[in-house]
């Protein structure tokens, strides 16, 4: 049987179970708020959000592969495109754009102009060092690690800090060759 043709982000998003985004946005806000109370240091909160995102990315990649029927990406450029157009869309209902490629095609930026995580959010002065959306960078890092790509994901621009868009830089550190997980004679 021929493999199913890859589906567009819009088509997948229309077909998955969806919920009211307010529930998602407010739940995330309440988590960040509780973490700030419990961990006290903003840097610790950033780390925890990244870790939570990483765990989510590791799990969500399966759902992503199953529902999108995307085939193997030929290079990192295609990977970035698929994340921006299909990955973001099917989970968050928004698409990102990909820009700022470096010469060797291993670093790029995902630009988000619309981000459901930050509806109703304003940061107080005491939270200046907080990367409020750090869970997203963790998700991208975790998901890519599951498809054998070690990446470093960093926020370059943040609308909550007065920038015009969210800019997430994704840098490919290492592509781990896929290995057969089992040895026959063991």
């Amino acid at each position: 049987m021929a493999p199913a043709a890859p589906k567009s982000g819009d088509v997948i998003f229309a077909s998955v179970d969806r919920v009211n985004a307010e529930l998602f946005t407010l739940t995330y806000g309440a988590i960040v708020r509780q973490l700030i109370t419990d961990l006290e240091e903003v840097e610790e909160v950033n780390k925890q959000l990244d870790q939570m995102g990483y765990n989510i990315g590791v799990r969500l990649v399966d759902e992503f592969l199953a529902k999108s029927s995307v085939s193997r990406c030929v290079d990192f450029r295609e990977t970035a495109d698929v994340i921006a157009k299909v990955g973001f869309k099917m989970f968050l209902g928004v698409t990102a754009s990909v820009t700022n490629w470096d010469a060797d095609g291993t670093t790029c930026s995902l630009i988000l102009e619309d981000n459901p995580l930050v509806d109703f959010v304003e940061l107080p002065d005491t939270c200046q060092g907080l990367h409020y959306c750090n869970i997203l960078s963790g998700v991208v890092r975790g998901a890519l690690e599951m498809v054998s790509m070690k990446t470093e994901v960093t926020w370059l621009r943040d609308m909550l800090r007065g920038d015009d868009v969210f800019e997430l830089q994704v840098k490919l550190l290492k592509q781990v060759p896929e290995e057969y997980p089992y040895k026959d004679d063991e």
């Binding site: 009211n20 307010e22 407010l26 739940t27 968050l92």
Partner: protein, 175 residues
Amino acid sequence: MVREVSESCVESLLAEIVLSYCSGFYANKPELAARRIEAIGFQVGHQLSERYTMDRPRFTDNLEAIKFICKDFWSELFKKQIDNLKTNHRGTFVLQDNRFRWLAHMSIDPSVQASGNIQDPSAMAENKSAQATGMHLYFPCGIIRGALSNLGIECAVSADISNLPACSFVIRIKA
């Protein structure tokens, strides 16, 4: 149009709240972890009920407010209403959802189910699987308590899953 995200987003967050608080910060203190998870739910319920009641007149009595939770509030969250509401007319209300979505993807230990009272901390300490299920339920309990608190009703909320996939939320209003 109402903005939506994939249901997986909310379920992922919920799973991570439980994981962070139960395996991380408060691994050996389930009561503290439970209180934090409930507090996150409380905050969410409080804000949502504020938003969903903006254009309504005040509720005249507790029953009106509980009916709002069963119908409008539950529909916003789960796209369905509470299936059954019971009360003893002395401040206790039992809200049953015959198919509670946030438990739909969880595997639940049958022994936990039989004991019914899933949120007994001493039981949770002994059984990790019971603990995980119980912890998941603190979040919706917190949401209900937060929503009612925003409507001026102070109460305690617990969950009962002795009838899976149904889940009952027991609300005890403080006199």
